[in-house]
């Protein structure tokens, strides 16, 4: 479904992403792992158009989407959440998701119908599915960190995506919140049939939900394969564990 070939991006000479390759099949959950600064977030930014790549290609459903702007990428039904919480702080939980739904329904140029009367059902359904319905009228700034991360995912769902990119979905969450979030991701994959690409530091989560894993080191792809294959791979041990022959997890 998604195919990244030899994607590269340098910032002032520093190769943040260096010939990265990645393939994601429909319906899969793929994890990207790698040490801090390996270029995971930059890779996601390149795929979603927030940054333009220097070279390489991104194919989505066999269509070249390299260098499209973020709103165009979103129209192809690719949505993402952010590592650092990235929501509309002054608006309520409901409004945050509603804007996303309105945007998908192409109603954002409507100047005179009150927003309050639009996309209510769709927005409520999404909030229900992620478990935020009870908090829909709260101002986002007053939510807990965990709820805000979930709101991130809810906003991404507003675009009715086929392909969902989650940048460290559980970072900074309490243990209980983390397990709720994992359940949510599993549910999105199983019941809604979403294809999911995510990156994460917690190996328990990675090996718990991913079908396949891509390992990134210094901007490049070390290996991509099923969990078993990656777990005790030598190159991964070199990069991650400093040459020790212990396995990940």
């Amino acid at each position: 479904m998604l195919e990244v070939t030899s994607l590269s991006k340098a910032f002032a000479g520093f190769k943040a992403v260096n010939h990265a390759n990645l393939a994601v099949e429909k319906g899969e959950i793929v994890a990207v792992i790698g040490p801090n600064g390996a270029g995971k977030t930059t890779l996601f930014n390149l795929i979603t158009g927030i940054i333009k790549p220097d070279s390489g290609r991104v194919l989505f459903k066999n269509e070249d989407i390299t260098g499209l702007s973020p709103h165009e990428v979103c129209r192809k039904r690719i949505s993402r959440s952010f590592q650092i919480v990235n929501v509309f702080q002054r608006l309520t939980v409901f409004e945050n998701v509603q804007i996303s739904v309105l945007s998908r329904e192409k109603k954002t140029w409507n100047l005179f119908t009150p927003s309050a009367s639009l996309a209510i059902k769709e927005t409520d359904e999404i909030l229900e599915s992620v478990g935020l319905l009870k908090k829909k009228n709260r101002t986002t700034a007053l939510l807990s960190h965990g709820d805000r991360k979930v709101l991130e995912i809810a906003m991404a769902l507003g675009g009715n995506p086929e392909f969902l990119i989650l940048d460290e979905p559980t970072a900074g969450m309490a243990a209980e919140e983390t397990s709720r979030c994992i359940d949510l991701i599993k549910k999105l994959s199983q019941t809604m049939g979403l294809t999911i690409l995510f990156c994460e530091h917690d190996m328990e989560i990675v090996f718990g939900i991913a079908n396949r894993i891509m390992v990134m080191v210094r901007g490049g792809t070390v290996i991509q394969g099923p969990c078993e294959e990656v777990r005790c791979n030598e190159a991964v041990q070199d990069a991650y564990l400093g040459g020790s022959d212990a396995c990940l997890m």
Binding site: P70, R80, N86, I99, S103, L111, A156
Partner: protein, 314 residues
């Protein structure tokens, strides 16, 4: 909107309708000026407070609207009412052009570029004696019969301001308005949920330009003059201060700010020439004590006092 707010608004409208019957001519003029400046400040707030765009030189659109209307009235024989529509449309078109140039930059850089381009327009108006009257401006602009008295000018201003405010209020509550506020809070996120940020901002700039142009045309009706100072950057600063003082997250904040500033300027000026000094002190006090503006402060107090609604009802 709560019943009480509606009642308050209704009362305000009735007072403003009856006002000219009781107050002397000068005050009728003054209230007209307050209304149109309030409209101008609200149009700025559409992009500043709701859109998060640093429109530092908003007065240009006010001036262009006023000059557009005036030149049409004085240089052509077309019906006067047409001039009042053309002025704002010219402003909107100008907002589009300036917007397309400036929108590539964000935040402060947008503001800086806008000030420079706007000042360029001011310089042209200031120098082009043959067309704009140069630094003299244009005086004694002929008005159609029905707008020639201060009272009729007042009612015209009042109705147009009311209609314009209503339209802007609708816009802010529309999906477009929601998106605009989303962009203010987080442009990157907005892009990522499929919103073309630049284009939405551009439309906001055009709308703000249009309503600033409406305010400019109203000034022509009320004062029958135009002069280059209407596009000078100090006026833009004054409009921004109106927004900040009244409260830029409240819809009627800029209107209140305009009322306070215009009233103070009028009365302070009779005692001292140092109006700018007084303005500066007011601004400092606002920043320190009322960071959300007067109306923002009132709303805050009101919400806190909401525990005892019985007292409020009486």
């Amino acid at each position: 909107m709560s019943r009480k707010t509606l009642l308050g608004l209704g009362a305000g409208i009735i007072v403003l309708l009856l006002l000219p019957l009781f107050i002397p001519r000068f005050y009728v003029y003054l209230v007209s000026i307050i209304l149109l400046y309030g409209l101008l400040a609200t149009s700025l707030n559409l992009v500043l407070g709701y859109g998060g765009i640093f429109q530092f030189h908003h007065a240009v659109f006010y001036g262009v609207g006023a000059y557009g209307t005036t030149l049409m009235l004085t240089k052509t024989g077309l019906p006067a009412m047409l001039a009042f529509i053309v002025g704002p449309l010219v402003s909107a078109a100008f907002g589009l052009v300036l917007g397309i140039i400036c929108i590539r930059l964000s935040k402060l850089y947008f503001g800086m570029l806008q000030i420079s381009l706007g000042s360029l327009v001011w310089a042209i108006v200031y120098r082009w004696y043959a067309f704009t009257g140069g630094d003299d401006g244009i005086h004694g602009i002929p008005m159609p019969e029905m707008l020639s008295s201060p009272k009729s000018a007042y009612y015209f201003t009042f109705i147009i301001t009311l209609v314009s405010l209503f339209i802007m209020w609708k816009i802010i509550r529309s999906p477009f308005g929601s998106v605009l506020q989303g962009i203010r809070d987080n442009p990157v996120r907005s892009e990522m949920i499929g919103i073309n940020v630049r284009r939405h901002q551009l439309l906001a700039l055009v709308l703000a330009g249009f309503f600033a142009g409406v305010a400019g045309s109203l000034f022509v009706v009320v004062d029958n003059t135009v002069f280059p100072d209407m596009l000078f950057w100090t006026l833009s600063l004054e409009i921004i201060i109106m927004c900040l003082l009244g409260g830029w997250f409240a819809f009627l904040g800029p209107m209140l700010g305009a009322a306070v500033i215009i009233a103070l300027r009028t009365f302070v000026s009779t005692y001292t020439d140092y109006w700018a000094l007084v303005l500066g002190i007011i601004m400092m006090l606002v920043i320190f004590f009322l960071p959300n503006g007067i109306l923002g402060y009132v709303e805050e107090k009101f919400k806190r006092g909401f525990v005892e609604p019985e007292i409020e009802e009486r």
